[in-house]
């Protein structure tokens, strides 16, 4: 590999202990299970998968908000675990789904955006003010809006505040966890356009998590599909959407209802068994729902196979084109 990867994760794993009832013994949930990948600088890796498959846990591990049970994260070639918090903040920043929950309601917008700068401890007041003004302008907020409180803004404006706060330290990498899922489509489009423009102008790298495949297809250059903690397929965006290799990816894509009248609702062929992260099935973890499973699938875990077209983890897809 030539350039240093913006994000590299190696053998990343994170477990949680959860109780499913007051008297039940705690169970082990493997939210992220031995995941490895790297994201080249300037690209956008989209992460898709159903609720509970481990997307947010992966994001929090990469942001250093959660320690891994095993494995490591490298950001811009440096080990996250060994990085000072302030240095980390200058390199990688988050944008989360619910801007309301992630913004302090008692602070004015400009103070919220200034926080990361102040936390650095070494930036003078005039410089803080200048950079806050610059960040607000960058995301399309007026200085008048900078003087307001989050409750006085719309959902889309609040997400702009979260983006301004993420950009104010001029990071290289932004981890977006469902950044538009709480927004109306007309506002979602405004935010997606803003994120795309910022990436182009500032040369940012994104890890972009969404359960909306059309959104991911629109913004991501590469896509990773997660299922019960593992990446079961990863490929360049065009390739993945044109020729999905994993049966789960195929089912996901089949479920996308594009606004094309007359096509009806497809049969995704998954049955009613739901995945349970506390009870990961033996063999291929997708086999109880897989429409093409063979005997081998319930007995043996498939290994990830990597080739020019990307990565796929399925007994049947290994040799496919």
């Amino acid at each position: 590999m030539s350039a240093t990867a913006a994000i590299e994760v190696r053998g990343l794993r994170r477990e949680f202990r959860v109780r499913q009832g007051i008297f039940a013994a705690p169970k082990r949930v493997i939210a992220v299970d031995d995941v490895s990948f790297s994201v080249p600088p300037g690209s956008v890796l989209g992460v898709v998968g159903e609720s509970g498959c481990g997307k947010s846990t992966l994001a929090r591990l990469i942001l250093g908000l959660l320690p891994p049970t095993a494995g490591e994260v490298l950001v811009d070639g440096q080990r996250l675990a060994q990085m000072d918090r302030r240095a980390r903040a200058r390199l990688i920043q988050p944008v989360f789904q619910d801007p309301f929950a992630s913004l302090n309601p008692k602070r004015r917008v400009r103070d919220i955006v200034a926080m990361p700068l102040i936390a650095q401890g070494s930036i003078g007041r005039a410089e803080v003010e200048r950079r806050v003004g610059e960040a607000l302008e960058r995301v399309g907020l007026s200085s008048d809006q900078g003087a307001r409180f989050p409750a006085q803004l719309s959902g889309g404006q609040r997400q702009r505040v979260a983006i301004a706060r993420a950009l104010v330290l001029r990071p290289r990498i932004v981890v977006c966890d469902e950044p538009t899922s709480a927004l109306d489509v007309s506002v979602q489009a405004q935010i997606l356009n803003l994120l795309a423009e910022l990436r182009r102008d500032l040369g940012l790298t994104y890890l972009f998590i969404s359960h909306n495949l059309a959104v991911v297809e629109h913004i991501a250059s590469e896509v990773a599909v997660m299922y019960l903690g593992r990446i079961v397929e990863r490929a360049e965006s065009e390739r993945l959407f044109a020729a999905p290799r994993h049966p789960y990816t195929r089912a996901l894509l089949a479920s996308v209802l594009t606004p094309e009248p007359g096509l009806g609702v497809p049969d995704v062929g998954l049955g009613d068994v739901m995945p349970d992260p506390a009870n990961i099935p033996p063999g291929c973890r997708f086999h109880p729902r897989c429409p093409v499973a063979v005997a081998q699938c319930s007995a043996e875990s498939p290994r990830p196979a990597t080739d020019a077209a990307g990565l796929v983890e399925c007994h049947l897809a290994r040799h496919a084109a």
Binding site: S154, D184, S221, F241, L257, P266
Partner: protein, 325 residues
């Protein structure tokens, strides 16, 4: 044949919000009519008006509210209660609001039938099990004995659908029935609804903000904005030849694979949905509309474009060569 449901000029005011401002729509037997629009535009309030379940303090007025040919606008609570869950049923936006956490799925499902029809318990249980199987639940017996919190979101939503069907309703109102679900489960549930409708001849009023769902399941679409139905048309027409500036804007915002290239900007509508106060006049979209003229602050004409296509706008349909189909 008269419509199964006909709403004419519905107005609902809640405190200082004009939640619905003269919405009209009609639904035939066996038809799926989608009500689409962004958050706060009045979709749920329209549905709750039909069910007689408006929040406390809401004031409702209509010129007509007809169900199966009968005017129900003047019905009192007792009369509405007799209709609800029986001839008209609703699946609510948040399933936990209509499932009681303290009772098993089985007792909640059978209760509906016992209350409306006085059906004996054993028979009601059979019916519940049959419907659970019908909505694709593999172990109905097991599920009947479980509590709502023991079910996944997808199963809960299936239970809601089965429960709504207990009394063989003629009208089903489904308010964002799949919004909280994964796309895979969403597709399964929508397919299920379409199948049930075909078999049972249900009229479905489906509320959603998702244009993908609309395109795939609706026979007819009404687009709501700020409490008004701004455009209504057969589904194919609406997607092929949208006329209202808001409908056009909304359609351009949705990323459609193959239509907008990666990194090319999506269409977008500037600004946000306004909160409309009672007494507001003119078009509610005019502050965000690129085609607005001074006339937009006056009375907006309802234009009949033929073949069941209508819009509420001062502009000429087919103004840019895109004639109404």
């Amino acid at each position: 044949m008269s419509a199964l449901l006909e709403i004419r000029d519905l107005r609902v005011t809640i405190g200082s919000t004009a939640a619905v401002r003269g919405a009209s729509l009609s639904l035939d037997k066996g038809e799926t009519h989608c009500l689409v629009g962004e958050s706060g535009c009045g979709k749920s309030i329209t549905a709750l008006s039909v069910m007689g379940l408006l929040p406390r303090g809401a004031v409702r007025e209509t010129t007509a509210l007809r169900f199966a040919g009968e005017e129900i606008g003047h019905y009192g609570e007792r009369q509405m209660e007799r209709l609800r869950g029986d001839r008209m049923a609703m699946i609510f936006q948040e399933p936990m609001t209509s499932l009681n956490p303290a009772y098993t799925v089985g007792s909640q499902m059978t209760e509906v039938l016992r209350r409306h029809r006085g059906t004996p318990r054993a028979q009601a249980v059979d019916r519940a099990a049959e419907l659970l199987a019908r909505v694709g639940i593999t172990a109905p017996g097991l599920r009947l004995g479980q509590f709502p919190h023991q079910l996944s979101g997808g199963l809960r939503q299936r239970v809601m659908i089965a429960m709504a069907l207990m009394c063989d309703p003629e009208l089903l109102i489904a308010d964002e029935p799949t919004t909280a679900l994964d796309v895979t489960v969403q597709a399964q549930i929508l397919r299920l609804l379409a199948g049930l409708q075909k078999d049972l001849g249900l009229g479905i009023l489906l509320i959603t903000h998702d244009l993908g769902i609309v395109a795939r399941v609706a026979d007819r679409v009404s687009v709501m904005y700020a409490g008004e139905v701004v455009e209504s048309a057969p589904t194919a027409t609406l997607f092929a030849a949208p006329q209202h500036p808001y409908t056009r804007g909304l359609l351009s915002c949705v990323p459609v694979p193959g239509k907008v290239k990666r990194d090319e900007p999506l269409g977008s509508i500037p600004g946000v949905v306004p909160r409309i106060r009672p007494g507001f006049t003119g078009c509610g979209f005019r502050d965000r509309c690129a085609e607005a003229t001074p006339a937009c602050a006056g009375t907006i004409p309802r234009r009949d474009l033929g073949s069941g296509h209508e819009m509420l706008c001062v502009l000429d349909p087919g103004r840019d060569g895109k004639a109404a189909a």
